[in-house]
């Protein structure tokens, strides 16, 4: 008989404890982010699709060596370059030198697995992960990024 009543009493007590906890939570501020209106800043280690890094002149840092293209296991990077002659002063005299300039840098994001081999293989720090994650579309073409264009748009 005593056990019967003590069980009821303990049961009621535990119910009251639970109610107390939810009552306190009721008045605490909400912790969710109303997503489309507010977004969270992505952390430094977030891996989005890749993005070209610019130098001080706003041009891509990339020297078009093609290491990233070779490192990519899915073959989703395709780049092209052209040779440009330029003059530079070495020990008081002008010399003509050649360098490669990036003319095309396309990323096919539909096959990218975000492994990051390209970023790791780059010796010039010319590509980095973007913090872009609002990437939903019903069209495949929206995921073929022209990174040179994106860089231009960022700078304009």
């Amino acid at each position: 008989m005593g056990a019967y009543f003590s069980e009821i009493f303990r049961g009621l007590q535990s119910l009251a404890t639970g109610l107390g906890i939810t009552f306190k939570e009721f008045f605490k501020p909400v912790v969710t982010v109303p997503y489309p209106y507010e977004t969270i800043k992505m952390s430094d280690r977030f891996r989005g699709h890749i993005e070209l890094v610019e130098n001080e002149e706003g041009k891509p840092k990339c020297v078009a060596c093609g290491m990233c293209q070779r490192a990519c296991p899915s073959g989703c990077i395709s780049l092209a370059s052209k040779s440009v002659e330029y003059e530079v002063e070495v020990k008081g005299e002008m010399k003509t030198k050649k360098k490669k300039v990036l003319t095309k840098y396309n990323l096919n994001f539909t096959t990218c697995s975000l492994c990051g081999q390209c970023v790791e293989s780059c010796n010039f720090g010319a590509i980095t992960f973007s913090k872009e994650y609002n990437l939903a579309s019903s069209r495949k073409e929206d995921f073929h990024f022209d990174l040179l264009n994106r860089l231009k748009e960022r700078n304009s």
């Binding site: 639970g18 109610l19 939810t22 939570e25 009721f26 909400v30």
Partner: protein, 328 residues
């Protein structure tokens, strides 16, 4: 003669409007409350504070197709949702909101409300059975066994109250408690020392009667898909939903009338309809609060609670009150 008919029509329209408005906006309150308890805002996009959510939901439900599953009992399938809503609206007719606001004050008001409340179980049974769905039938069986076992302690508690006050008229029940909090039925007196426990029993039974969590065995999603309304879409589902909330309002009104002095002010000042509404909304908030606090019980736990704890205690209370009423 025509004036009495007009009065009746107005009363019915007001009852339906009150029930429907409450049903619609309690869904909103429930979702907002659930959100707050879970530290999220709840529906807040449609209109200020999400207040346009219920009309939007209703519009959505009404524009959907009503699918009747093959092999279902068509007539019963259509009747069941109506049967969920109609008794709740009928019960509003005899509920006194204040001294003057009552559609029809009946001498057997308590009896009538409980008679209609039992019909609610019928709608669940018919819905599950007529939709020819195994989950629906299982849910109906559960809901009916639950309703039967919880109606007993509920009615025994009501008998205790009727014995104390000597009336079944809801208006007179409230009148007998007027004059401040010390006259309310929830406060123990010499002839009824166990009234707070009776209140707890009645409160628990109201939760179970309205099939609310933690007693929503009929809607156990994890094992029964959606329970008795698995096959219902469109406004059929909407009516079940509205019926549930209308029943909650009825339950809260009954608790207020039987235990908390109806429209009476705790200090005996300014009695009126505002006190009644305040009390029922506090009770409804506690229903929502309980729903989002406790997990669902098992069917055995549910039936054990009723047969092993609530019924013996309420019976003991009935006998004790009967004896003490004789003494004092």
């Amino acid at each position: 003669m025509s004036l009495t008919i007009l009065n009746a029509v107005i009363a019915v329209v007001i009852a339906i409007a009150f029930a429907a408005l409450n049903a619609a906006y309690l869904v909103w309150a429930e979702r907002r409350g659930a959100g707050r308890i879970q530290r999220r805002p709840g529906p807040n996009v449609n209109g200020p504070l999400g207040l346009l959510q219920p009309p939007a939901d209703g519009l959505k439900l009404m524009t959907k197709q009503l699918v009747i599953p093959g092999g279902a009992d068509k007539a019963l399938f259509m009747v069941a949702p109506v049967l969920a809503m109609a008794p709740a609206i009928m019960s509003f007719v005899t509920i006194p909101f204040s001294d003057s606001i009552v559609a029809r004050s009946m001498d057997i008001g308590v009896l009538m409300i409980f008679a209609f409340a039992s019909l609610g179980a019928m709608s669940v049974l018919l819905a599950g059975w007529s939709s020819r769905n195994k989950y629906g039938v299982m849910a109906s069986v559960r809901a009916v066994s639950q309703n039967i076992s919880y109606e007993i302690p509920m009615l025994i508690t009501v008998i205790t109250i009727v014995m104390m006050t000597g009336t079944m008229n809801l208006k007179e029940l409230v009148a007998s408690q007027s004059g401040g909090i010390w006259n309310w039925n929830i406060v123990p007196s010499l002839s009824s020392p166990l009234m707070p426990i009776s209140f707890l029993i009645f409160f628990t039974c109201s939760l179970a009667e309205t099939n609310r969590a933690p007693f929503d065995l009929g809607e156990a999603e994890s094992e029964l898909v959606a329970g008795f309304h698995t096959e219902y879409g469109s406004m059929g589902f909407g009516l079940f939903f509205m019926g549930e909330y209308a029943n909650i309002v009825i339950g809260a009104s009954l608790i207020t009338i039987l235990f908390l002095g109806g429209w009476d002010c705790p200090l005996g000042l300014f009695p009126g309809v505002w006190w009644f509404l305040l009390k029922i909304y506090v009770l409804i908030f506690s229903f929502i609060w309980i729903r989002w606090t406790f997990p669902r019980t098992t069917i055995y736990g549910l039936l054990n609670l009723s047969w092993k704890i609530l019924i013996p205690i309420s019976l003991f209370n009935l006998l004790l009150t009967a004896g003490l009423l004789k003494v004092f």
